[in-house]
């Protein structure tokens, strides 16, 4: 068996990895809640956002925090444009087309990032260097920061959807678009705004992940694991998403430790097992229509 320190260390890595997944998954859930589109390119938005932060904070010498803010604004604008120029036109098309479309965004973003910033990994300087000792265990500051930021953003988003007029309007337009139009909700603008918010979240996630994974054109694939986590929890519910992502994040380091042969696949096994038992995830968000 493992000594207790190792268990705690692996557990903490799991929690921080899970929070990172949750941070990415929030963007997926947001877009899904508003438009029922699953943006498979979200991981690539994150990668691209990370690079934009790098450009503003180091290329233009703004420093990390101002660079992050400017990058968020730029990416938010990009997200707004993606919706208003492309996604708006394809409402009501078959799901396969929409999936393949968002996957295509991923391809475009990845090659664009490669062309602009090169194909080799780069590092981003953040204020979260160094380590902290907690109860005899050393923890990386960047991992603690991920957990913190995730908690803050979750609370912010949750209260946005539950408390503000705009959040409620977004939920309404996602449940019945036509009815929302009739109620005078500016559905189009709201949906574009949701894409903007999701792109901002992706940028923040990219900046937070950069010290852990380094910036590379392929880090977008983390998005698939985040998606798996969100589905395990029950897509569309923010608490469910966090639960699922934490679950996957915690299981991963342990299974990699005990079964090195299936390194990196345990998340998908968990996903299949959970969906086999509970096809709608742990916290159910879909309802059968009463005929």
């Amino acid at each position: 068996m493992l000594p207790i320190e190792d268990v705690i260390r692996l557990g903490f890595i799991g929690i921080s990895q899970g929070s990172a997944y949750a941070l990415i998954a929030l963007g997926f859930v947001l877009i899904y809640k508003a438009t029922e589109v699953v943006n498979f390119a979200h991981g690539d938005f994150m990668m691209f956002g990370g690079f934009v932060v790098l450009t503003f904070s180091e290329g233009f010498g703004l420093g990390f925090w101002p660079g992050l803010v400017v990058a968020c604004l730029a990416m938010g604008l990009a997200g707004f444009l993606v919706d208003s120029l492309i996604m708006r036109r394809i409402i009501g098309q078959s799901q396969a087309s929409i999936f393949i479309l968002t996957v295509a965004f991923g391809f475009i973003l990845r090659s664009a990032a490669g062309m602009i910033w090169g194909w080799s990994p780069q590092s981003l300087d953040t204020p979260f260097d160094g380590e902290t000792m907690v109860a005899g265990i050393t923890l990386g500051n960047e991992r603690i920061a991920i957990v913190g930021i995730t908690i803050v953003l979750c609370i912010a988003l949750y209260s946005f959807f539950a408390r503000t007029r705009m959040g409620v309007a977004m939920q309404a337009s996602s449940q019945n678009q036509l009815a929302a139009y009739y109620m005078g909700i500016p559905v189009r603008r709201l949906i574009s705004l949701v894409w903007a918010i999701a792109a901002i979240l992706a940028t923040i996630a990219g900046a937070m992940m950069a010290p852990v994974t380094q910036l590379d054109t392929s880090i977008g694939f983390i998005g698939i694991k985040a998606l798996a986590g969100a589905i395990v929890g029950g897509f569309g519910s923010i608490p469910g998403t966090i639960l699922g992502c934490l679950l996957i994040g915690i299981i991963e380091p342990f299974s990699d430790y005990f079964f090195p042969a299936i390194k990196g696949v345990s998340a998908y096994i968990v996903l299949l097992v959970v969906l086999f038992v509970r096809p709608d995830g742990l916290i159910v968000q879909t309802y059968q229509k009463k005929a």
Binding site: I90, G92, S94, F99, I100, V103, I108, L272, T286, Y287
Partner: protein, 358 residues
């Protein structure tokens, strides 16, 4: 302009209903049969590969295009088919028996996946199949004693009823024969009650259920048949590749299949075939584009995926019915010659239908 007089009920379910279709299909089959006479070896082998992808596309079309169950994992069936067949052939099972066994095996795995898929919907299913694909790829890679792992696996030579078929044209005829069989079988399936149940489930699960269709069982069937056909494509692909490695059957291959049917046109057999043609011509097209573009852009690494992505976006936004839709519009233009109007194919304004209330 041709007017069809219906004189018997059978006419409603004929595979080919118009005179023009008969002529086109006959011409196509004859020219495919004659292809080895005037094509050289390289193009013939490319044409064979195109047929293989057409089969795989039809396989995916059955679950995604006809039953509406989006699958990101069909490359897994391609892989299972290829490996299962090669392993069986290596142990001395004859080709014909191995094809049947492999197809059944793929169908069985597909039904197992369909059993879990039948209770999921939408993108849960898409991601679950993606997870399935990643797991299968890892299993193939790690099960070294059976599959040779990442080192690869040598595919035995094509041999039917004890006769070796080493020439490209012989292999091409095997591809063509199986393609014709699959196309005919699928067309037949679609006019049977099972096939029409597929379409009903795609269009509305609720109304299908109200009409007495067992939706879960239909989805299981659809996945099983779809996986079996993709497995056949895997068998032929193995003989084309001659050397298998797990990475061949990864996420990118799955995306290629999905791209094929979306660009070809969802929900029709011709769409899958158009898609296969498109995917086979794409590399040629991209290299042509490279020549046209200015040097500063064409020298960039990663240009191919970028153009690939742009083409998909343009297709989905401007021609959602794919190449097949464009083809139908063209036919309609000529068939109804002076009467074609722009409004003939105008799209209705559509709203989002929520999936959370099924």
């Amino acid at each position: 302009m041709q007017i069809i007089f219906k004189t018997s009920y059978d006419q409603d379910i004929n595979i080919l209903s118009k005179r023009g279709e008969y002529i086109r299909v006959t011409l196509l089959i004859v020219s495919m049969l004659a292809a080895p006479l005037f094509l050289d070896v390289y193009y013939l082998s490319e044409l064979g590969l195109l047929l293989v992808y057409a089969i795989a596309g039809i396989g995916l079309m059955i679950s995604t295009g006809f039953t509406g169950q989006v699958s990101f994992g069909h490359a897994a069936f391609l892989g299972i088919g290829a490996y299962c067949h090669s392993i069986l052939m290596t142990t001395g099972v004859p080709f014909s028996v191995s094809v049947v066994l492999t197809t059944l095996f793929c169908g069985f795995i597909g039904m197992l996946l369909g059993r879990s898929a039948s209770r999921m919907h939408g993108f849960y299913l898409a991601v679950a199949t993606l997870a399935f694909l990643i797991i299968v790829e890892t299993v193939i890679g790690e099960w070294t004693s059976l599959t040779g792992g990442y080192a690869g696996f040598l595919v035995p030579e094509l041999q039917i009823f004890g006769v070796y078929l080493p020439e490209i044209w012989q292999q091409y005829y095997v591809d063509l024969g199986l393609t014709l069989f699959v196309v005919w079988g699928t067309a037949n399936l679609l006019r049977s009650p099972t096939g029409r149940a597929f379409l009903a489930v795609r269009d509305s699960e609720l109304s299908a259920r109200s009409l007495g269709i067992n939706v879960e069982w239909v989805k299981i069937q659809s996945f099983g048949i779809s996986a079996a056909i993709t497995g056949i494509a895997g068998i032929l692909l193995a003989h084309h590749l001659a050397y298998l490695s797990p990475e061949t059957f990864g996420v990118l291959e799955s995306l290629k299949l999905l791209l094929m049917i979306v660009v070809g046109g969802l929900g029709s057999i011709t769409g899958a075939i158009f898609g296969a043609i498109f995917v086979s011509l794409l590399p040629v097209l991209l290299s042509l584009l490279r020549d046209v573009l200015p040097g500063a852009i064409s020298q960039q690494a990663g240009l191919e995926p970028m153009l690939f992505g742009v083409i998909i976006v343009l297709f989905v936004v401007f021609e959602p019915d794919g190449i097949n839709g464009r083809w139908k519009k063209l036919l309609h233009f000529f068939e109804t010659f002076p009467y074609y109007r722009k409004a003939s194919f105008v799209r209705q304004k559509r709203y989002l239908k929520t999936e959370r209330m099924r």
